[in-house]
């Protein structure tokens, strides 16, 4: 049976009303958060000290000031000719019911020259893995084993970055480049215990190498990892530390704080992301690769834009900011390059079903059959 709407819908008004009440109570909290932001803007050192003190007792990420007044807002500078590159990925996880466990990574990428030489490219690069025999027994402890430990999401994230970074370096010979990535700058699965340790180690090393190579082009290349509709709360948490307030009525998300501060196309100050937690992903990378971020408003959307420290020069940030405004203007409020990279990467339900059939066919041709599983078979059959 599908969802019985006539039974479910009656509960909806109460849920919406409850949420509306919660939002209304946030007004006071937001006003207090804005006051804390202003105080932090007046005295960055004092504000940072309060944040660092709070950080010591918490595993949560906080924001620290990064040279710009934290309560400042910045309009976009004019857009100048450059190549905008976007990359995004999609994947098919190993099917535990399939005769052969394997995964698919599809990395979509676009290269869009605006007023600079070079051809526009929209394409994707599919990889079926594992590309080598993975030793599932290598890791011990509580780490996962088998296909779950292959880290498909992590591989996809790294592939997105590597693809975009290489294109950026390649196109930098034609002029300025802005590289846009979808999601956070660091792949957080690098510290996921479900992914085999040697896989994480190899991918971190590969990512580190590519980051270093890209950083050599800092003068011409800007980088921004774009999180649309962000729910991060680093700045809100820091403001709570400064105002000595947390809990109900205090804004949990930075988007709430900045949605009332930023005008369309404006960005916030740059912040440093930091946490007191040990053994974090950040610790895998040197200081000049650590994440800086700002918030950017496009229409009603407040996006978090993350970039490595080496790309956070005034010129690099200005180029990125101008490109974001231009890209969002071209695509209803979201960067065109990321939208098209997504379109190139997406694996539809039809593609997934076809891949499954082709895999089954190839396995059968080579004399392999999937093990029997009653639940899986019944879901396929669905007969009464």
């Amino acid at each position: 049976m599908t969802l019985r709407m006539e039974k479910a819908l009656g509960q909806l008004p109460d849920v919406v009303e409850r949420y509306a009440r919660e939002v209304a109570t946030l007004d006071k909290g937001l006003a207090a958060a804005r006051e804390a932001l202003a105080a932090w803007g007046r005295d960055a050192e004092e504000g940072d000290r309060a944040v660092i003190a709070a950080m010591a007792n918490s595993p949560e990420p906080y924001a620290l000031s990064c040279g710009e007044p934290v309560d400042a807002t910045y309009p976009a500078p004019p857009f100048a000719p450059c190549t905008v590159i976007g990359s995004d990925g999609s994947s098919i996880e190993p099917d535990r019911f399939a005769a052969v466990p394997c995964y698919v990574l599809n990395t979509g990428f676009v290269v869009l020259p605006y007023g600079v030489p070079g051809e526009a490219v929209l394409d994707s690069k599919p990889v079926i893995g594992p590309e080598e025999t993975l030793d599932e027994g290598e890791d011990d402890g509580n780490e996962g084993s088998g296909p779950a430990a292959w880290g498909v999401n992590l591989r996809r994230d790294v592939s997105e970055f590597v693809t975009g970074a290489r294109l950026a370096v390649e196109r930098a010979v034609n002029g300025d480049v802005v590289l846009l990535l979808d999601g956070t700058f660091f792949p957080w699965d690098l510290d996921s215990r479900t992914v085999a340790e040697h896989t994480r180690r190899d991918l971190a090393s590969r990512l580190g190498d590519e980051l270093e190579l890209l950083s050599f082009s800092a003068e011409r290349v800007s980088v921004g990892a774009y999180v649309s509709g962000t729910r991060s709360g680093d700045v809100a948490r820091s403001l709570g530390a400064i105002a000595a307030r947390t809990g109900p009525g205090w804004p949990a998300s930075d988007a709430l704080v900045f949605s009332r501060l930023l005008g369309d196309g404006e960005r916030s100050a740059l912040f440093r992301a930091q946490s007191g937690r040990r053994a974090t992903v950040e610790e895998l990378f040197p200081a000049h690769q650590q994440v800086r971020f700002f918030y950017f408003r496009s229409g009603e959307d407040v996006a978090r834009v993350e970039l490595p420290a080496w790309a956070a020069s005034p010129a690099g940030v200005a180029r990125l900011h101008a490109a974001l405004v231009d890209q969002c203007r071209r695509c209803g409020g979201y960067p065109r390059a990321l939208q098209e990279a997504h379109e190139q990467a997406v694996i539809t339900m039809g593609d997934r079903a076809q891949f499954s059939r082709l895999l089954e066919g190839e396995a059968s041709r080579q004399g392999l059959r999937a093990g029997s599983n009653g639940k899986h078979a019944s879901k396929k059959r669905r007969a009464i």
């Binding site: 020259p113 605006y114 526009a120 929209l122 203007r329 071209r330 098209e340 379109e343």
Partner: protein, 195 residues
Amino acid sequence: MNEAPRVVAAGLRQFQCAYDGYVEAPYELGRMVAVREGSCTVLGIVVDSASGPEDPARPLQPPSGAGGRTAAEVLADNPHIRPLLTTAVTVVACGHIQGEDARATLPPMPPPLLAEVAEANPEEVAHLAQDAAFLSLLVASPACDDSVIAAAVRLAATAFGPGSYAFTVRAGKELARLLKAEPARLTSIIRGVAP
């Protein structure tokens, strides 16, 4: 310079070819084209061409702020658009050449899929069209309206050089024979042939 289009759907009477991307000037209406791969050279006449998004689920929307600018300017300012577009051409078979023989009949088999589709050269046009018999397949095809046939005659005539007038007269007589029961259609085509 775009590459030649390639056959993407093939039948004995009709085939479709697609360019690798969007082209502003595909083979023109009535142009004779040739597929020179396979057991024979298949010749056909362009009866239609269409350009649009490669993915029909993503309709093309004019970018905002494009007012007052030409298509070339809009495309240059929006470099993501062109790679997502494609141009396809529909061709009706009007004969084939096997060795030295040119026959104004259906080819024995369809052109191979993915074969290149080139403009027929003047020798091929003259070889097939000299007696104007190729018009019978066009007249019989529901895909060929009057303007296609008129354009095919006009363009084929250019392959005959100084003999183009004589060819046009032969074509007119052939059309009169084929369309003796449809005088209105004949008149419409002849008007389209006249310079």
